[in-house]
Amino acid sequence: MIKVEAVIQTSKLDAVKDALHEIGVEGMTVLEARGHGRQKGHTEVYRGREYTVDLIPKIKLEMVLADDMAEKAIEAIKSAARTGKIGDGKIFLTKVADAIRIRNDDRGESAL
């Protein structure tokens, strides 16, 4: 099994979710995050004091998939999340040793 972690623009969550549904990926966990990278932040001014905000709100998606689903998911995410602008985000893949469904004792791929 593979864990796909994707950091995307906050405004793209709905689009990505839909894209994943279409290829049959139902299970996922979503986290609010802030990102730092090539994308420049913005400055805010409070009573003359200027702050450069270089941590930009992002959405982090995590989904554990059967190996053969990984590439499909990556494609779906890419096409749905891409705006072409710096800051579109990243996808990372990691091997997962095992998965357990808490509700029943399903293990492995059947737990996804």
């Binding site: 001014v45 009573r47 003359g48 702050y51």
Partner: protein, 492 residues
């Protein structure tokens, strides 16, 4: 008699005990109030002739008219008192609470709220007496200890139409908010206990004398009761804002900067809260300024209009300055501007025309913007929430401009023999008034600086002013009060 009783008891039982002691004080205060029956209508008529009947009717009417007028003014003064309390809680508490970091929101709001409690008790016991009781040119005495003699009849020295008890509670609301304003300077780093002790002492040794000098019977600067240097201060530009604002600067310098300031960004955790607070300050300020007419006659209208115009023009002034300088006007800027305008118009309201109010407000908005940006960063002191930049600076410029724009047509305060009206301000030709304004301002500055320094020193020695750096990092809410402002976790 009470006089001697209290201190001893205090010595004996300490802080907590005194409240119970009031039991003994209280019969006195009653007998005092008994001297003060409210005006009542009556109509006696023993075998009346036509004329006598009419005399009786007219006499009755005279009492009833006085009663009606009193009810009208009293209604306005009571609601004004409520509005001024609204300024402190939740107004100022939110305005300041929103500007600090999340971990300090309750601690900051508590500093204002605490004043609502403790200053009230001090005021009842001797504060009012010090500020408005008979005394010398600088301070009142203990004549009204435990509000003795502060009953339901008017005190002609202050107003002929409202119960002096109304006047007392209205003035109390001013005594509450003034020290609370200072808390903006030492936000996020002062011990709660030290803050309490310092501000109580400050209200006794700085506020009460200043209030007495400007508004009290025989006060040195009292313009309506013939003070030596009649300073025009309708609602507290010097008494409230200069004293608190200047003391704030002293506090900021004495306590030093917050950890990491200015390196670490410390943006307001919720401009939304500050926005609510600022709006409530604006609304409450009508009670603050128009209430200072001590009645609901046309003078209240003048003050009301000037207040609103000053706030509006200042919001525009600050926003324009920001727009020009940063390319964007901010909500924080707009609300800060309106507060600056309200501060500056405070001494002027009730003396100036609506148009003058627009000018004063606009100037104050731009001036205070410059103070909290250019000047503050130039000198680098950490007046965390700009208590000095807004109240000290705004109060000072407001007091000066009052001397410029004061108009005897709006308020014929200076009268000669046979009611001849003299000019009030510079534009009307009373250049000399500028001098009096300067005297008033100077005294406020000196009193604030010296008083604050001495009191900070004392309190620092006794309990220490600053929280430990661990506590500062942890935040006042947890370290000082053992609670948190928000629980957003879904796991509850």
């Amino acid at each position: 008699m009470t006089k001697t009783l209290i201190p001893r008891a205090a010595r004996l039982r300490g802080g907590l005990a005194f409240l119970f002691l009031l039991c003994f004080g209280f019969p006195l205060t009653l007998s005092a109030q008994s001297q003060a029956p409210a005006p009542k209508a009556e109509s006696q008529s023993a075998e009346p002739t036509a004329r006598e009947t009419q005399n009786a009717r007219v006499t009755a009417l005279e009492l009833q008219v006085a009663d009606a007028k009193s009810s009208a003014d009293n209604a306005w003064m009571l609601i004004s008192a409520a509005l001024v309390l609204l300024m402190t809680g939740p107004g100022l508490a939110l305005f300041y609470g929103g500007l600090v970091r999340k971990k300090n929101v309750l601690g900051t709001m508590m500093q204002s709220f605490a004043m609502m409690g403790i200053v009230t008790v001090v005021w009842a016991i001797f504060g009012y007496s010090l500020a408005f009781g008979p005394g010398n040119a600088f301070i009142g005495g203990f004549h009204h200890l435990f509000l003795r003699g502060v009953g339901l009849a008017p005190d002609p020295a202050y107003s002929t139409t409202i119960p002096v008890e109304t006047f007392m509670v209205y003035q109390l609301m001013f005594a509450i908010i003034t020290p609370a304003l200072i808390t903006g300077a030492f936000a996020e780093r002062m011990k709660f206990g030290a803050m309490l002790l310092f501000l109580v002492l400050w209200s006794i040794f700085v506020y009460d004398p200043m209030a007495h000098m400007v508004w009290g019977k025989g006060g040195l600067l009292n313009a309506s009761l013939g003070g030596a240097f009649p300073t025009l201060d309708f609602a507290g530009g010097t008494v409230v804002h200069v004293t608190s604002g200047v003391s704030a600067l002293v506090c900021a310098l004495y306590l030093g900067k917050r950890l990491g300031y200015p390196k670490i960004p410390m943006p307001p955790h919720s401009v939304v809260l500050s926005f609510i607070g600022a709006c409530l300050l604006w609304v409450g300020w009508f009670g603050f300024n128009a209430g200072s007419a001590l009645g609901s006659g046309s003078l209240a209208t003048s003050a009301f209009v000037a207040t609103h115009f000053g706030a509006a023009a200042a919001a525009i002034g600050w926003s324009l300055a920001e727009w020009i300088r940063n390319g964007k006007p901010s909500a924080l800027g707009a609300i800060s501007g309106c507060v600056a305008g309200l501060v500056a118009i405070t001494p002027a309201a009730g003396f100036v025309s609506p148009m003058s109010a627009l000018i004063i407000g606009f100037i104050a908005g731009v001036f205070c913007y410059w103070m909290v940006t250019a000047v503050k960063s130039r000198f680098g002191y950490d007046d965390s929430l700009d208590a000095f930049g807004v109240h000290g600076a705004g109060g000072t410029i407001g007091a000066l401009l009052t001397g410029v724009f004061a108009s005897s047509i709006i308020n014929p305060i200076f009268k000669g023999a046979g009611g001849k009206v003299f000019p009030s301000g510079l534009i009307e030709g009373n250049a000399h008034q500028m001098l009096n304004q300067l005297v008033g301002i100077a005294i406020a500055w000196v009193l604030a600086i010296v008083g604050t320094l001495v009191l900070l020193f004392i309190v620092d020695k006794i309990v220490g002013l600053r929280v430990s750096s661990d506590h500062e990092v942890q935040g006042l809410d947890l370290s000082q009060h053992g609670e948190e402002g928000y629980y957003w976790e879904t796991s509850a």
